[in-house]
């Protein structure tokens, strides 16, 4: 793709240079493309950049219910970083992020590898693994809250079978609640990852597999040393998709625990929302937003630049 992009530029450039005398204003070069991109430019410029700058600006104010330009310096940030709930949110996001990332990739890849073994009923299995992705986080959260409720759900059923001391209440136990939330997240999200991985596996030249068999390389080694390295682009796409989901995690927590028990399963996006709207302290919410944006920028921009920027 990137090489093509380069070629394409090479193709259009000389033509443009030749006709330079006729088209003095570079603004009108590719005019149609520019006109067509107006929605994108507006979205990127006004909504994303504008909205972000606006948010950052107001994070230095003491805006309450309504945004006001009453600057208080870094006060909101000082407060943010001594608030236990924010610290817990960050910690939870890191745990949740690590779990999502590792397990989504591993499970997604394993499922794809299993489905790639020329099995029967592949379509059926794939549909089963993918269908949760069609459900919203609200629905996912509700169902899993129900399944994990110790009074009705799995714990109740297992105890009913005679194992009285069985305990499985991840959503009601502060120390493991974030793991409990991940169960539902993985249920919902791994299907898509599997699809991406499967598409990646199917894109790999059959001959590579044959060559590895002739070379006598065991299947797991073939996957590990040959196939996975070859799927680097797929892994990157997948990583980006998972990562963007992690930062945004909100509905799932709200639907399952509302941040509870206590504040044990709070996440940053919920902190932002709660402080902006429940607490009517926009300044604090914006400060938290800014921290989130900052972390996104630190992680994503270098990647996006490498991926899309340098190949001009």
């Amino acid at each position: 793709m990137h090489t093509q992009g380069r070629d394409r530029t090479a193709l259009t450039q000389p033509a443009d240079e030749m006709s330079k005398s006729e088209r003095p204003n570079p603004l009108f070069r590719n005019l149609n493309a520019k006109v067509a991109s107006i929605p994108m430019i507006l979205t990127a410029g006004v909504v994303f950049v504008g909205g972000t700058l606006w948010t950052v600006l107001y994070s230095f104010t003491n805006s309450k219910l309504l945004p006001r330009l009453n600057f208080v310096g870094l006060d909101q940030y000082y407060r943010l970083w001594v608030t236990p709930r924010w610290l817990i949110s960050i910690e939870n996001l890191l745990i949740y992020g690590a779990i999502s990332l590792v397990f989504s990739l591993v499970i997604g890849f394993l499922l794809a590898a299993l489905l790639d073994q020329k099995i029967r009923f592949e379509d059926t299995f794939r549909t089963i693994f993918l269908y949760p992705f069609a459900l919203s986080f609200i629905v996912t959260g509700l169902v899993w809250q129900w399944l994990l409720n110790p009074d009705f759900g799995i714990q109740h059923v297992v105890r009913g079978l005679g194992w009285e001391s069985f305990s499985f209440d991840p959503l009601y136990n502060s120390s493991i609640v974030i793991y409990g939330i991940s169960i539902a997240a993985l249920w919902q999200g791994t299907g898509l990852i599997m699809c991406l991985m499967l598409a990646g596996l199917r894109g790999i030249d059959e001959d590579i597999w044959k060559a590895a068999r002739v070379d006598g390389i065991p299947m797991w080694k073939t996957y590990l040393f040959i196939i996975i390295p070859m799927m680097r682009p797929v892994f990157i796409t997948t990583l980006v998709i998972i990562a963007s989901g992690i930062v945004k995690v909100y509905d799932l927590v709200v639907a399952q625990t509302s941040g509870g028990p206590g504040i044990a399963s709070e996440v940053p996006a919920k902190y932002v929302y709660d402080y902006m709207f429940f607490a009517q302290n926009l300044g604090q919410g914006f400060a938290a937003s800014t921290m989130m944006l900052l972390s996104v920028v630190i992680v994503i921009v270098p990647w996006a630049y490498l991926e899309f920027g340098r190949r001009k």
Partner: protein
């Protein structure tokens, strides 16, 4: 059952079905030690499938496969003593050339110095020493295919399998590598089984060619035999470029072939054992076996014709005319200049022709 001393690969009664579809049908093939066999045929004829069966990459439905006298029908590919080269090279893109060559050996637990020795030898033979530390992406197509061959080479095996190895290369490189493979074969004296749809590769490389169609070997013979005495119309048409002329007509009991107002005497034609029963048939003669002008008159058969189209091909020129109402082409030296519509005389020796039964397509 014991493979003869000289037999390297022996395929017995091999069949392969995918469900109701028969891909290979009761195939038998013996490949002698050090022989270069080319499996030739159009796409879908089963030639690659047969190669994959020999390699053990496909499970057979019926039959046995012997390599070096050992029944390997149920063996894993790695235990069959084969090396394989693929059309798409199938190099491991994240590894350097050296790692590509050594990976299989290291997995198999070959001692380090032995690996180094084998790689050095392969690299020397293929002249890829300067490339050892590069990754496949940094190699040209020809270099990649050399590395792919090297990967088969280091396995130190008796039988090399090539699956259309040159198809992804441009014409010039293909010609170069063709020669290299031939040299390689001469140097190594290994058994090689080579799949291609390119008749020039087949003709130039093979000790024997197996022409395949519809999962069946049509003819297995030395290139010249296949070229000169194709067993059926398919083989005749598939080999040779420009293609053989085919003329529909009748053969009157062993005497002559008739089409339109033309009658070609067949007294010099060597009929097959089955003999000549007469009836509708197809007469085939290769363009290069047709004489022209003065020389035509020395031939057992000669006739008048008119030039219709002239196709200069550089080394020679292909001339199209009509014979008995059928399109008919022949070759002349490039120096000859002919104009459209120019009357000419052409002739040939029916002994070099092929006659096929219209119904079965078999040689008569």
């Amino acid at each position: 059952m014991t493979a003869a001393n000289g037999t390297s690969v022996s395929i017995q009664n091999l069949s392969l079905n995918f469900g109701a579809v028969t891909v290979l049908e009761t195939l038998n093939l013996d490949v002698a030690n050090g022989e270069f066999i080319v499996l030739l045929g159009p796409s879908g004829c089963g030639k690659s499938t047969l190669l994959n069966c020999i390699a053990g990459l496909l499970d057979v439905s019926q039959g046995r496969i012997f390599i070096k006298g050992k029944n390997v029908t149920w063996e894993e590919p790695k235990d069959r003593g084969i090396g394989m080269v693929f059309q798409s090279y199938a190099l491991y893109p994240q590894m350097t050339v050296e790692k590509n060559l050594s990976f299989g050996l290291r997995v198999a637990g070959t001692p380090k110095d032995e690996i180094a020795k084998r790689i050095a030898r392969a690299a020397e033979i293929l002249q890829i020493e300067p490339l050892l530390q590069r990754k496949p992406a940094a190699l040209s197509g020809g270099q990649r295919q050399r590395v792919a061959i090297g990967r088969a080479l280091v396995r130190d095996v008796d039988v090399f399998l090539f699956d259309e190895p040159l198809s992804n290369l441009d014409a010039k490189l293909r010609a170069e590598l063709r020669v290299e493979i031939k040299l390689l074969h001469r140097k190594l004296q290994n058994t090689m089984i080579y799949v291609t749809h390119d008749q020039i590769e087949a003709m130039t490389l093979a000790d024997r060619i197996a022409v395949m169609k519809g999962g069946v070997i049509q003819q297995l013979d030395a290139p010249q035999t296949i070229y000169n005495r194709p067993v059926n119309r398919f083989v005749a048409g598939f080999l040779g470029s420009p293609a053989m002329n085919f003329i529909d007509g009748q053969v009157a009991a062993g005497t002559a072939f008739k089409t339109g107002n033309v009658s070609i005497p067949l007294d010099r034609y060597a009929f097959d054992a089955a003999g000549n029963s007469g009836g509708p048939c197809v007469f085939g003669i290769r363009p290069e076996h047709v004489a022209f002008g003065e020389a035509a008159n020395t031939m057992p058969f000669a006739t008048d014709a008119a030039v219709e189209i002239v196709e200069p091909m550089g080394s020679d020129t292909l001339v199209w005319t009509k014979l008995g109402g059928h399109n008919f082409s022949f070759r002349v030296e490039a120096e000859k200049t002919l104009r459209n519509g120019e009357p000419i005389r052409i002739g040939f020796d029916p002994a070099r022709a092929s006659l096929f039964d219209s119904q079965s397509g078999n040689r008569m």
